[in-house]
């Protein structure tokens, strides 16, 4: 403070700190409450973040590629008719520059798969195996056999659950069927060379991998593809670059980020931040009654002292600063301990919590059966900000009241 009559902050700090510990029981109770509150704030946001991350990861794992380019009619009518040629020119150029880390093309059409025993409707994916792996397909998810090995591999890879449904197994032949652009049903017998597992059962039942060349040949569409899938290895930052792809792809193609491709995930992702803040604010409000109460009591007990300080020439606003400083110290202490405690709680859990008891329910939310809480600096800062700002706002009432005492009345209070 530049004012020559300003007290050094030192004396205010000394007073605030010592006053805080005058009634140590009350301070400790309030401190515990703040610690519990802050701990809960961070724990909840870590859980939410973990849940959401799990949902998005699972969602993106289903068909990797945070940004996808399609024929404009493909989304509405995912037929082989609505396919396009492989990227070239400007689009190809953008795909090969950072931040894009990998991209691949797929021919993706609805079809049927039949074993000797049964048949199912599935989504046939004609892929480039190397491209899929670069994009995020984990070969470790192959539980039997192998993944496709080349862009013209003659085999087929299906999900564990689908194999069960079809009563078939590795090495058996199945027939895949789909419609070609001439409205004829094309089919082909293929051998199951691999069986994969996925986080969601629905995925295992739906996606069937063939090589891109095989599917193109079966459907008589040389070089045609349904989509270009692109990744930059960070789904959170997709907003920063997907428009560049969009611009390069031009108006004749439809470019969409995952938040649009999967509206459910996108909206969950959107509201997550707001939800976090709402939960934090609710916890804070529950806390604030106790905080205000503690400060009101602290001021009430010290009315005479406040009168004395005023008589000695302390300006009313410094009395206010002193109460606010006391509150700030209490809040900061609570924040430090709360954050430390939350970190200590969440870190060991980051390796995953098994919640398969409600696994089917979580599948409904689009989640796997393991929750990985994620500690984020962002959430810790947000909770700190909320506690400090709202805490000081709530403390303004008792602090302001303290500064409004009339010194004579305050001094004579018993």
């Amino acid at each position: 403070m530049a004012d020559k009559h300003s007290p050094s902050a030192g004396i205010l700090a000394t007073l605030a700190w010592r006053n805080l510990w005058r009634n140590y029981r009350r301070t400790l109770i309030m401190l515990t409450a703040i610690v519990v509150g802050v701990w809960a704030m961070i724990l909840f946001s870590a859980m939410m973040r973990g849940m959401l991350d799990e949902m998005v990861q699972a969602g993106l794992r289903v068909l990797p590629g945070e940004v996808q380019v399609h024929h404009p009619d493909y989304q509405d009518d995912p037929s082989v008719v609505n396919s396009m040629s492989a990227p070239k020119g400007k689009l190809l150029q953008v795909l090969n520059t950072p931040p894009v880390t990998a991209w691949t093309t797929r021919l993706k059409v609805p079809g049927m798969i039949s074993s000797e025993r049964d048949n199912r409707g599935v989504l046939l994916l004609g892929v480039d195996p190397a491209g899929e792996i670069a994009l995020g397909f984990d070969p470790g998810d192959i539980v039997q056999g192998r993944f496709l090995e080349s862009a013209d591999d003659k085999g087929i890879v299906i999900g564990r659950k689908l194999a069960e449904r079809l009563e078939t197994r590795l090495g058996k032949r199945v027939v895949i069927m789909s419609q070609n652009p001439y409205n004829d049903v094309a089919d082909r017998g293929v051998r199951i060379v691999g069986i994969y597992r996925a986080r969601l059962q629905a995925t295992e039942e739906l996606f069937v991998y063939t090589s891109r060349a095989l599917l193109q040949k079966m459907l008589e569409v040389e070089d045609e593809i349904s989509e270009v899938a692109i990744t930059a290895d960070n789904y959170e930052h997709v907003d920063a670059w997907w428009r560049d792809i969009d611009a390069a792809a031009g108006p004749d193609l439809d470019t969409q980020p995952w938040t649009v491709l999967d509206a459910y995930l996108g909206s969950m992702y959107e509201i997550q931040g707001t939800m976090n803040v709402i939960i934090m604010v609710i916890i804070f409000i529950a806390l604030s009654f106790g905080l205000v109460n503690t400060l009101v009591m602290a001021v009430f007990e010290r009315v005479r002292e406040i009168g004395l300080m005023m008589a000695l020439g302390m300006r009313p606003q410094w009395i206010m600063y002193q109460v606010l400083l006391e509150s700030l110290m209490l809040l900061s202490l609570g924040l430090v301990i709360g954050n430390a405690l939350a970190t200590a709680t969440v870190l060991p859990l980051e390796s995953g919590i098994d919640i398969s008891v409600v696994g089917d329910g979580l599948e409904m939310y689009g989640m796997g059966a393991t929750l990985y809480p994620t500690l984020a600096l962002e959430d810790m800062l947000m909770s700190t900000l909320i506690v400090l700002v709202l805490g000081l706002l709530a403390s303004l009432i008792p602090a302001w009241r303290a500064s409004r005492y009339n010194p004579v009345e305050a001094l004579t209070k018993t």
Binding site: V36, G121, L287
Partner: protein, 408 residues
């Protein structure tokens, strides 16, 4: 009013502001809990309702293997007759027989693999909301005609309209080749994409003919009046059927995800509630401890006059109880008012449309206010507050009158 009650009441208002702040914390917490719990109840029952009323129903009679492995060969023999018998013996009206099979549906332009359902046009509307959602054309009205109603997205994908033909190809129950051509008579639009993409219904007799089912069906779907009656109806049906190969499954067995989704949500919500309740209890602990400490001298005098520590502890509990009751009463009134307001007017959460669709929910949600949803939270808060008073009360037992009177 006894002297202790009067004493407790007056003591509370010695520090009116403090008391109100503590009561305020309870009111806030109670109001919030009532609203949230009512809201959850509302959402859950809506989730269950909308999930079950579309296709699943409350109960289904199936072959014992069918639920785990839905194949045509795991079927219910003479299903239509069985449904008739059950209807007359159990007096449950809402009962319909169905057949379900997988087929490749082709129009002139497109083909898709779909789930085809054979239904009884007379009874299906009693167990499902779909017949009421026909937006173009009409629902099925004849048990054996070669007609089909499909979802609007499927119609768009197949590029067909009312009057067009769809070819169904699949395999029959005996493994033979199954084929049929049906005319689209109606298009169902539920507003939910996933549903509108997959619905395809044909008359049951026609279904049985196409898929070589003979007198077999896949399941009998049963709807009961309320969720709470499900268990009773289930055992009644099981007893009436009395066939070792057949089972009656309730909605929880048919859609295990639903119940678990609710449990998962309920659990995470209760953790949050627990934190709120703990915070309010701390507030009470603080207030009561302060109030006991500042009255040390007074308590010393009272003990010197012959009051036992037990009576003082009772006084502290009485004060806490009074305060908590205030919080309970005001919280319940306010909470019930807020929840009822939204029960009437609905809650709309912007930005949640896609999430709602995922759970088959409409855009507006309605809390469900009941005695349980109103009392559950506040009673736990009340208990939490009383527990918080234990420490301040117990401290009184260690009080020495002389030392206490000298305390400042």
């Amino acid at each position: 009013m006894s002297i202790t009650t009067r004493l407790a009441w007056r003591n509370l208002w010695r520090h009116g502001r403090r008391t109100w702040l503590t009561v305020g914390a309870m009111i806030f917490c109670n109001t919030l809990l009532i609203f949230l719990i009512s809201f959850q109840f509302g959402v859950y029952s809506l989730m269950i309702d909308s999930a079950l009323s579309v296709v699943t129903g409350h109960l289904q009679v199936q072959h014992s293997e069918y639920n785990d492995d839905p194949r045509l060969r795991y079927s219910v023999p003479y299903g239509i007759a069985l449904a008739e018998r059950l209807r007359s013996e159990t007096k449950i009206e809402a009962m319909a027989a169905r057949g379900t099979a997988f087929a490749l549906a082709s129009s002139e332009k497109r083909s898709f693999g779909i789930q085809v359902m054979g239904v009884q046009p007379t009874f299906e509307p009693l167990v499902s909301t779909l017949p009421g959602l026909v937006k173009k054309g009409r629902y099925l009205n004849n048990n054996s005609s070669d007609e089909i109603v499909i979802g609007s997205v499927l119609a768009r994908n197949l590029k067909v309209g009312v009057g067009d033909e769809i070819t169904l190809l699949g395999s029959g129950r005996d493994g033979s080749f199954a084929a049929g051509v049906a005319t689209v008579v109606g298009i169902i639009s539920s507003g939910m994409n996933n549903l509108d993409r997959s619905i395809a219904q044909v008359p049951l007799d026609y279904f049985q003919a196409v898929f070589s089912m003979g007198e077999q069906i896949s399941s009998i779907v049963v709807n009961v009046d309320t969720l709470s009656a499900v268990a009773e109806r289930k055992s009644e049906l099981t007893a009436t059927i009395n066939e070792p190969d057949l089972v009656v499954l309730d909605w929880d067995e048919l859609q295990p995800g639903l119940q678990q989704a609710i449990q998962a949500d309920l659990f995470s919500a209760f953790v949050m509630y627990a934190v709120l309740i703990v915070l309010v209890s701390f507030s009470v602990l603080n207030t009561q401890l302060m109030s006991v400490l500042e009255r040390t001298r007074e308590f010393g005098v009272m003990m010197a006059l012959g009051m036992r520590p037990g009576s003082l502890a009772r006084l502290v509990f009485l004060e806490t109880a009074t305060m908590s009751l205030l919080g309970l009463a005001f919280g319940c009134i306010l909470g019930a008012a807020v929840a009822t307001y939204f029960q009437v007017n609905g809650v709309y959460i912007p930005g949640m449309e896609a999430a709602m669709e995922q759970y088959n929910l409409p855009g507006e949600l309605y809390p469900q206010v009941s005695i349980i949803s109103v009392m559950l939270g506040p009673l736990i808060v009340f208990t939490g507050c009383m527990v918080a008073a234990i420490y301040p009360a117990v401290r009184l037992y260690g009080l020495q009158p002389v030392a206490a009177m000298r305390a400042v």
